[in-house]
Each structure stands twice: as structure tokens, then as C-alpha cells.
């Protein structure tokens, strides 16, 4: 059967800016694609270093996202539902790592978790744990920068959700924790997915805080953005190719996951 248009015409006032917005986001990428020295792409794609950087990027961004989900969703819930004093102020504070230039964020992390840092000195002295210059450090830096995205997205979703369903759960004897797990969380899933996507993508592209806190050592802390940045110094074209590789992989992962998460049984 032919597909009929079963909704009203899309309004021009919305479609025009939407397409402009799309163009604004996508045309620069087209610029990169046009400029890329395609002949060298296969070489680079299969070089050991690039492979390693890519793997490291994906692993660290994913771990950072997990950390953000584990800590960030409860935090969002606390901000949206807990009756805390000074909630508005706390909420504003949570956005701070967003505003901080990433390099300063890295410095802040060093001040706290570095070898001589507020907490880091004890970590080092008592447990012999030192985060800077390690892969764990990359995860910490990425999580620090990316967490606000998750928290704010999820909090927005929580505020938009109808709290009367939570009341219904309470009358069925569900504790706030069970209510959260079985009622609240499923109903804000789209917001959580949106937040996780933002978080993962931001972590994947993170540069400043990572290099400042975790340094840059191939195979341990050199993620793709770091490789791209350094390549820019000497071979700008190579940097563009690396960026495109990063983009393709991230688009592939997101397009794949989205279908799983969202197109699923819901």
C-alpha cells in the first residue's frame, strides 16, 4: 500500500529553521570531508597507533559514561525530587564543570587528585594509587567534564515526568528506591538516553582536561582527540583524516545503539 500523509503538512516556520540548523551542523563536516586526503585514509585507518587510540577512546568514553550514569542519575534525581535546601544553587554548581575551560578543569583535577593533590597525596601514600598519566586518569577526566550533561538532561526529564505515577507506586508499597527503579527511571528513559549520548559524545571528544590531567602517552592515555591535536601541529591533513575516522566510528556506534535503545520494545 502506498504511504499516505496521515499528519498535517510540516509547518514551514519549523522546517526552515530545522533545516538551517541541520545545515549549520553538517556543512562544516562536509567541508572536512571534501578537504580530506582520501587516498591516505585506508593507510591511517589500519595503522597500529590509530587503532590503539581509537580503541582507547571508545573504552575510556564508555567507562566514563558508565561512571556518569552511576553517579549522575542519582544526583539528577536528588536535584529534581529531594527536598533539599538551596537546590537551585546546587543545580547551578553542577553546571560548573561545563563552563570551566577544560584545561583548567584538568588543573583542578590535578590539584585534588594529583600526586600532591588534596586527596591524591593520600591515595598515593596509602594505596600507592596515582591517577595522572594512567588510563584510569583519562576516564576520570572525561567523566568530570561529561557528567553535567547527563545530570542536567536527566533532571530535565525528571521534572517533565508526571509525579502522580510515583504517588501511585508509593500507595502500592514501593519504597522510593523501588519507585525510582521501576517507575521513574523507565518513564524518563528517553531523557537518560539523550543524556548518555551527550555524555558519551562529549567524553569521546574530550581533549583539554584529559591531556592536562592524564597526560599524553601512546597506548595509555593518547585518545583520538589528543592524536588529532598533535597531528594538527605537523600534518593538518592527517588530523582531518583522524577526525573523520573518529566521527564515523561515533556515528556508527550511536546510530546502532539508538535503534537498540529506542526502537526497541517500548
Amino acid at each position: 500500500m502506498r504511504r499516505r500523509r496521515t499528519r498535517g503538512r510540516l509547518p514551514v516556520v519549523l522546517v526552515v529553521p530545522a533545516l538551517l540548523g541541520l545545515a549549520f551542523l553538517l556543512v562544516p563536516l562536509a567541508g572536512l570531508l571534501i578537504r580530506a586526503p582520501w587516498a591516505t585514509v585506508p593507510d591511517r585507518l589500519f595503522s597500529a597507533e590509530v587503532g590503539e587510540a581509537l580503541r582507547l577512546s571508545l573504552v575510556c568514553a564508555s567507562l566514563a559514561t558508565v561512571v556518569c550514569l552511576v553517579l549522575g542519575i542519582p544526583l539528577a534525581w536528588l536535584l529534581a525530587r529531594g527536598d533539599l535546601p538551596g537546590r537551585g544553587f546546587l543545580r547551578a554548581l553542577v553546571t560548573v564543570p561545563l563552563v570551566l575551560p577544560p584545561v583548567v578543569g584538568g588543573v583542578a583535577l590535578l590539584l585534588v587528585l594529583g600526586r600532591r593533590g588534596l586527596i591524591g597525596q593520600y591515595l598515593d601514600a596509602w594505596f600507592g594509587v596515582s591517577l595522572p598519566f594512567t588510563t584510569a586518569g583519562v576516564v576520570v577526566a572525561e567523566a568530570f567534564v561529561a557528567m553535567p550533561f547527563l545530570v542536567i538532561s536527566v533532571e530535565g526529564a525528571l521534572r517533565a515526568a508526571d509525579p502522580r505515577y510515583e504517588e501511585a507506586a508509593a500507595t502500592l508499597g514501593a519504597s522510593r528506591w523501588l519507585t525510582f527503579r521501576r517507575v521513574t527511571l523507565p518513564s524518563v528513559m528517553p531523557g537518560v538516553v539523550a543524556g548518555a549520548v551527550l555524555c558519551w559524545a562529549r567524553a569521546l571528544g574530550e581533549f583539554g582536561a584529559t591531556i592536562t590531567f592524564a597526560g599524553n602517552f601512546p597506548g595509555e592515555t593518547t585518545t583520538m582527540p589528543l592524536a588529532v591535536y598533535l597531528a594538527l601541529e605537523t600534518e593538518p591533513d592527517a588530523a582531518i583524516v583522524l577526525s573523520i575516522v573518529l566521527l564515523l566510528v561515533s556515528v556508527g556506534v550511536l546510530a546502532g545503539l539508538r535503534d537498540r535503545w529506542i526502537g526497541g520494545p517500548t
Partner: protein
């Protein structure tokens, strides 16, 4: 003099302090002239210029970046080297890692930061290691000298190689240690007016000013060697 209007100067980030001062002095010497300074990494500046940025003067931290512009036809004049910089060993205040010379960089217990090879100070570091016959070893390869210096200041590493100017600028938080092989890797800072400079006269005047005695004095005070 016949210099008027704006003079737009793209200068390497490591020249932030000195060129800000030079710009101020140039404006004082040429009333009515405004020096517009754009500081960023040399390679980023080269990119911007090649993409058509309206620039009068380019002062780079390495000859390679200036050549990129020249290759693209942006510079026709012969670049002049206006300053030189040498490496120094930088250690945190009090030298907790007890580092005395380049040989200590090979110690397994010492945390070391160097510049990445892709940036000039990294290339220079490689040369001095070769000259000293020490195997190059590092815990981190940073994107620029300032990042290396940050690690030293915060005590995250026991030793690093940075420029003399950086040690000077860091004050008493960082101690510098000179070493003989530094002479093997002197880094040249070239400057040139752009071929399509909107203010050609101003461009030439600024280049001349940087290379004048007054200019050299400012650079020397920051720790640069004269060419």
C-alpha cells in the same frame, strides 16, 4: 613615520608576554597606530593564515610553521630569525626527585614530562637526548611547553625539559638546571610580513621594531637569546 592604522600580528602563544609588551611600545612609538595581537599555537596560526586571515605579521615559534605559509604563497619576504630559545631542565621547587642532569631522565623511578615530538620543544628534546646519548623516556608527551611546565609546577613530575624563557616566567615555583647538550638544539623564532598584508608599511615597521635594539632588550629580559 608613515605608519598608520591597525597592524595585525599573529604570534606564537609562547610570545604572549613579550609581544604584548612589544606591541605596547610600538604603539607608544607610533601614535595613532593600534597593534592587534592574535596569540595561539604556531600551527593554528599558520592554518588561519592559509585560510585567508587578514594578517600583517606572523611571528612563529618554529621555522616549519612559517614555511607552511610560505609554501602556500602567503610570504614572499625572507623570514628573519628574531630570537632563539634553549632547553633547560625544570624541576619542582626543592627538586624532590634529586635530578642533576639529563642522565637522571633515564631513572625508572623518576616521573618525566616532555613535549610531544610534533611540537618544536619536543623535536628539540629529541635532539638533546641524541646528543647526550641517553635513551629518550617520558611518562607523558605534552602538547606544548606550558602544559609541561604545569606538570612541574604542581609536582606531578620530577623533571621535564622546557625553554629557558619558561623557567624564567615561572618564578620561584620551578627551578631550572642548565645542561651542556642544550646548545645542540637551539630553537629559532622567525618573523615575516605577509605578502597580502592589508597594512604593508605597518607590517614592515613592526618587524623592524621587533628586531631593533629595543625589541631585543625586551626579548632578552624574558630569557630569549639574540640570534
Amino acid at each position: 613615520s608613515g605608519v598608520t592604522g591597525d597592524v595585525t600580528v599573529f604570534a606564537a602563544a609562547s610570545l604572549t608576554g613579550t609581544f604584548t609588551e612589544l606591541g605596547r611600545r610600538f604603539e607608544a612609538a607610533h601614535p595613532g597606530v593600534r597593534v592587534r595581537l592574535n596569540f595561539a599555537g604556531s600551527s593554528a596560526l599558520a592554518q588561519q593564515i592559509n585560510q585567508g586571515a587578514p594578517v600583517d605579521v606572523f611571528a612563529s615559534a618554529a621555522p616549519a610553521n612559517l614555511e607552511q605559509v610560505a609554501d602556500a604563497g602567503g610570504i614572499t619576504a625572507t623570514p628573519a630569525v628574531f630570537a632563539r630559545n634553549r632547553l633547560r631542565i625544570a624541576v619542582p621547587k626543592g627538586n624532590p626527585g634529586k635530578v642533576a642532569g639529563l642522565v637522571d631522565f633515564g631513572r625508572a623511578d623518576a616521573k618525566i614530562a616532555l613535549c610531544a615530538e610534533q611540537v618544536p620543544c619536543g623535536a628539540a628534546a629529541r635532539k638533546v637526548f641524541e646528543a647526550a646519548g641517553v635513551a629518550l623516556r617520558a611518562d607523558t608527551l605534552e602538547q606544548d611547553v606550558k602544559a609541561v611546565l604545569t606538570k612541574v609546577r604542581l609536582g606531578e613530575v620530577d623533571a621535564a625539559l622546557v625553554y629557558r624563557t619558561d623557567v624564567a616566567a615561572a618564578g620561584d615555583e620551578v627551578e631550572g638546571i642548565a645542561f651542556p647538550e642544550a646548545d645542540q638544539a637551539v630553537n629559532d623564532y622567525p618573523i615575516a610580513p605577509l605578502a597580502k598584508a592589508p597594512n604593508a608599511a605597518g607590517a614592515q615597521a613592526f618587524v623592524d621594531f621587533v628586531r631593533s635594539d629595543e625589541g631585543r632588550a625586551v626579548l632578552a629580559e624574558a630569557g630569549f637569546d639574540s640570534p
